[in-house]
Amino acid sequence: METKRLIIVAVGGQGNLLSSRILGEAALLSDVPVRMSEIHGMAQRGGVVESAIVFGDAKSTIISDGEADLLVGFEPLETMRALNRCNAGTTVITSISPLSPFTVTIGRGTYPKLSKIKEMISTKTKKLIAYDAAAVAKEAGSVLSVNVVLLGSLIQTEVLPISADAVKEAIQKRVKPAFVDMNLGAFELGFNAAAGAGK
């Protein structure tokens, strides 16, 4: 099977580990070989948390610079920071709702303009889907569902050999029962948002 490499970047606490678990589970349900890696520990205290997911026959669980086919970012600045992982053929999906790092608040650096971030990403990659995933998540019922909203958009691009149904089944398996319906809604909204934003 052709190898597809996906990187997810987020700020600690945004729930990217859950989204990679769901994707991994969906791959298992779809008989797609999958391996992934993530970083725990100190980085989780408000720093940048990255997971790498490799679909297909490769043995490695990490992804080298310039070798991601897909980049999903939960936060625009972090998406731009991860551009070194992309190449001219990469599809990028990002939320454009910023989480300002505390370094900006204490005057050590300024947050770049969103328009600049979008311009940078789209000129350096193949395709950019950018929208306010936090707003969509709120619409779904909780800002904490940004992770699943973006999963919806990811699946909509059809770059991965994984169907929406498989992801929905994985959500049912991996998410706490009380939150399943909300997350299924979030997935749907994210799926539609990408269809709209990608036009």
Partner: protein, 615 residues
């Protein structure tokens, strides 16, 4: 039921490497395990702990790695399969026990898991623990994937029983924290009680006996070397006269690289999974069959040096390389692209690296380092100490935990750090060597781990400093494990004892002990000032539960705060505290009510009293 206890042979599950290791141990009939938590190994123990609550597995969080090693060594010498788990630097703590345990050996299988952290994602150094296998003479296994981490575990216990020696099971972060699909095997019946048979002339390591035991250890190493020669975990793959010798995660990068470079008929691989003692015959045979050899291993040139010396014994002069200016580094972790590039370069294969976009025109990006959570009690403690020590020429020895992050601006509380417990020992040294005011910080769990001997030393040798013990009722950094000071009854686990930090400090002979509630800044500052004035060793215990843990325990929430229009925007709050709940909107300070947990520290430092509870 815990997912790792499901006895469904053949079931395929997506597991984290650490879960796979825990499952592998269960499938190997593990009876007893002990640990001190440390990233990247923590989830192994977390899962074993959870399983021990619903099965007859015995698991404990020991006070430190040395105790965990001694605990499991005794179990293995009583006939129970046992395992101790630690991160690489934990092995430094446990090494004293391990070095002589290698002489004594075991009766039932014992596995020592050590998790290295190349690139130091969550560690203070990137030491290569494989040298501990060499130093101790113990056999060592190194899995290359999540699946293998599970399957190798049964082999490790069998090998340990065959050799009557503990086996070191060495992983790196990318094994521990990778996830893949794993197939379950049977879970056997677990033996829960052993029996110790007296045999002092083989088990009490006085010189005359140890001399004899050392001979036995060396014989065991010869046997292990022979086993390694035929072990299924040392294998050759592929064809050709170009050779790569690799271990651990590097093996997966090498496999992918050879496939990507389309060289499967030209480059062959010797993968060493049982890598200590170095299996002499397979290595020599492999090198003999090659024109050129590349050794791919993260960390130190551990295999490379051994391979080269074995080649020398055979009078082989072919090029054997690994580390070097133009080749691999001893630093950081490797990745598939790097390994692909090096293989192409070393063997002279045509290859163009994928093009990376030109990023020179990206705007400046503010850093996002990890930081203390909003409402973290450490921020409050640091703020209070800073105020109490105003105007003093201070040294702040730090220690290991979330609170280490306090060294960053704006708090800048942390001047010197070596290892677990070093805050106390180095305080003794700084206090003696200088006339500066020494105030050191240690967490509750770290205090129990290795802070106590330093404190006893300080009292005995009459040093002069203040130690602040930050008691947040948990081992926060590694994911909220319990420690001896935790009230386990509150967690519905009444089967534990409890050790009081106050009583401990008092028993050590400290004459000035005070306890503060750090969220009350004014009172805390006054109490700390008294402690600082004391000539001799004074201890301040700062007690407030970890904010993240409080959330997880669903403790009642405090009122969150907001910035009222009394704010004159001098930004003291932001610049002193750097709390992640603050953000600037049109240049003015705001508090994000979703992030604020209501610790009220900012309200107490605001000179305008402009920060108020949000109604």
């Amino acid at each position: 039921m815990h997912k790792l206890l499901e006895n469904q042979t053949g079931k395929q599950v997506l597991l984290l490497g650490n879960e796979a290791i825990a499952r592998g141990a269960i499938e190997a009939g593990l009876s007893m395990a002990a640990t001190y938590p440390g990233t990247p190994s923590s989830e192994i123990s977390l899962n074993l702990f959870q399983m021990s609550r619903e099965s007859n597995l015995y698991f404990e969080y020991s006070t430190n790695e040395k105790v965990a090693m001694e605990m499991t060594a005794a179990a293995a010498n009583s006939g129970l399969r046992s395992m101790c788990i630690m991160k690489h630097v934990g092995m430094n703590v446990a090494a004293d026990a391990m070095m002589t345990l290698a002489y004594v050996g075991v009766k039932a299988g014992m596995v020592i898991i050590v998790a290295d952290d190349p690139f130091m994602f969550s560690s203070q150094n990137e030491q290569d623990s494989r040298y501990y296998a060499k130093l101790s003479g113990l056999p060592m296994l190194e899995p290359s994937s999540v699946e293998e981490a599970k399957s190798m575990m049964s082999y490790a216990f069998d090998l340990s029983e065959k050799l009557k020696e503990p086996v070191i099971f060495r992983t790196t972060t990318r094994i521990n924290h990778s996830t893949a699909v794993v197939t379950y095997n049977d879970i056997p019946e677990r033996k829960t009680k052993g029996n110790f048979v007296k045999d002092p002339f083989n088990l009490v390591t006085v010189p005359a006996i140890s001399r004899k035991l050392h001979i036995k250890l060396l014989e065991n190493m010869d046997t292990a070397c022979e086993i390694g020669s035929t072990s299924e975990y040392n294998f050759i793959e592929g064809d050709g006269t170009l050779g790569i010798i690799c271990n651990g995660v590097s093996y997966s990068y090498v496999c992918d690289a050879i496939a990507d470079l389309d060289q499967t008929d030209k480059i062959k691989i010797l993968r060493l999974g049982l890598s200590h003692p170095m299996p002499e015959k397979p290595v020599k045979d492999f090198v003999k069959s090659c024109d050129k050899v590349l050794v791919v291993e993260e960390g130190e040139p551990y295999m490379e040096e051994a391979v080269r010396s074995l080649a020398q014994e055979e009078g082989l002069t072919i090029s054997i390389k690994g580390k070097g200016k133009e080749l691999f580094s001893r630093r950081n972790e490797y990745d598939p692209g790097l390994v692909r590039g090096m293989i192409a370069k070393y063997f002279g294969i045509d290859y163009e690296a994928p093009e990376v976009p030109d990023l020179s025109d990206l705007p400046e990006m503010p850093q996002r380092p990890p930081t203390l959570c909003a409402g973290c009690s450490h921020r409050a403690t640091y703020t209070a100490v800073k105020k109490a020590a105003e105007g003093m020429d201070t040294v702040y020895p730090a220690d290991i935990g979330c609170y280490t992050l306090g060294f960053l601006p704006p708090l800048q509380m942390g001047d010197f750090l070596l290892c677990m417990g070093s805050s106390v020992g180095t305080s003794c040294g700084f206090a003696q060597a200088t006339d500066q005011k020494v105030i050191s910080f240690i967490g509750d769990s770290t205090f129990f781990h290795s802070g106590i001997p330093g404190l006893v030393n300080a009292v005995f040798n009459k040093h002069n400093f203040t130690l602040v013990i930050m008691d947040n009722s948990t081992t926060a950094m590694t994911g909220h494990q319990p420690h001896p000071g935790v009230d386990m009854e509150e967690l519905n686990m009444p089967d534990f004892g409890r050790v009081s930090i106050e009583a401990m400090v008092k028993a050590a002979g400290v004459e000035h002990i005070s306890v503060i509630k750090p969220f009350n800044i004014k009172k805390s500052v006054a109490t700390i000032k008294e402690a600082l004035e004391f000539e001799g060793v004074s201890v301040v215990i700062s007690r407030e539960v970890c904010a993240l843990y409080a959330k997880a325990l669903k403790k009642p929430k405090r009122n969150v705060f907001m910035v009222s229009d009394k704010c004159k925007n001098h930004k003291n709050c932001v610049n002193e505290l750097g709390c992640p709940a603050f953000f600037l909107h049109e240049g003015r300070v705001n508090i994000d009510p979703d992030i604020c947990v209501g610790c009220s520290i900012c309200a107490q430092v605001c000179p305008e009293h402009a920060i108020r509870p949000l109604k």
